[in-house]
């Protein structure tokens, strides 16, 4: 029981430690654009691809960007109008 409590406290401490790693510039940006990192995925992508580094785009990034950039249900023909199962 004590071991699990200790582990929990250390884990919590680690989370707080990492949460406090944002630079003052980043906090300023966040304050100015509070919804900028509304999506955890966007935040993940942004923090991984820092300015000045070669950005890396994975298939997962593309799928997430596509989902987030979706404009709504398109006007299009359904597959059932073309093919039968």
């Amino acid at each position: 029981m004590r071991t699990s409590q200790l582990r929990f406290l250390i884990g919590l401490g680690a989370l707080l430690l990492f949460a406090g790693c944002a630079s003052s510039d980043e906090w300023q940006t966040w304050k100015e654009h509070p919804t900028h990192f509304a999506s955890g995925d966007h935040f993940f992508f942004s923090t991984r691809n820092r300015e000045g580094s070669n950005p890396r785009v994975t298939r997962q990034d593309i799928a997430v960007a596509r989902d987030q950039g979706w404009w709504g249900k398109p006007v299009t023909v359904s597959q059932e109008a073309i093919l039968e199962r």
Binding site: T3, L6, R7, I10, G11, L15, R59, V75, V77, R85
Partner: protein, 254 residues
């Protein structure tokens, strides 16, 4: 005079030290795990979710189910290749399977793939006629997709297979207002098995492929019926690269 220290079971300091040491080690391990979890990118899946391949039991005839049961592993490989190697393309849910084209009589089973092409429509592209836009999309994708589908060992010689369908959908133009729904254009190209075999074997050149296919078109939900296209050799699929795109580990693209 030293203070008397009760060294009962619960006051055994060496045990406490070991307990603390173990706890600290475990705590450090937990910290390391959290650090790794926060700093390491999530690995891309080795394959997309399998919902792009229609399950065997959803084919409505014995012929369709037989084909699907035999070739589903190959279709999943095809789906994975499209997912990883053509990241600007999205295979739709249940978009790959042995479907029956609605315009044909009888239980004709065509290996079909239904793709959404994620591209920004340029003013130049929008200025073309539907036939011109469709010809460009046909040349760019239909031949290469037929080659990929026909690469499944044994498929081209399987007498149960009647042909191939490639459905291509793209954004016609940017929505006029933020509240407007986007309108997509769609072409469905049907190629019988003999024509596909001739094309894959090089007996039919790319410039003759459109004339061997039946192509139906839609503007949004409105059917435009059969349209006549021209086609040509286009290596876009093999040469286009998404900037800075990193293929997932373990995946090789041609």
């Amino acid at each position: 005079m030293a203070l008397a220290v009760h060294t009962g079971r619960r006051m055994n300091t060496s045990r406490t030290t070991r307990w603390m040491s173990t706890g600290v080690r475990r705590g450090l391990a937990a910290v390391m795990l959290v650090a790794v979890a926060l700093s390491t990118p999530l690995p891309a899946p080795a394959a997309p979710s399998d919902d792009s391949v229609m399950p065997v039991d959803q084919h409505t005839s014995e012929k369709g189910r037989r084909l699907a049961a035999k070739y589903t592993p190959a279709l999943r490989e095809l789906s994975a290749k499209v997912y990883h190697c053509m990241p600007w393309v999205e295979a739709k849910k249940n978009g790959i399977g042995f479907y029956k084209p609605k315009h044909l009589e009888g239980d004709n089973r065509y290996l079909s793939i239904n793709l959404y092409i994620d591209q920004q429509p340029s003013p130049e592209f929008a200025a073309f006629s539907i036939e011109e836009r469709a010809s460009r999309m046909f040349s760019r994708y239909v031949g290469p997709m037929v080659r990929r589908m026909a690469a499944t060992p044994g498929l081209l010689n399987d007498s149960s297979l009647d042909g191939f369908t490639v459905i291509l959908e793209w954004l016609k133009q940017m929505p006029a207002s933020p509240n407007a729904r986007p309108v997509h254009e769609t072409i469905a190209s049907f190629l019988d098995r003999a024509s596909a075999a001739d094309y894959v074997a090089g007996r039919v050149p790319a410039r003759d492929l459109a004339s061997r296919a039946r192509v139906l078109a839609w503007d949004g939900e409105t059917s435009l019926g059969p349209i006549r296209l021209t086609s040509w050799e286009d290596d876009f699929v093999t040469t286009y690269k998404v900037a800075n795109y990193q293929v997932a580990p373990g995946v090789s693209c041609p």
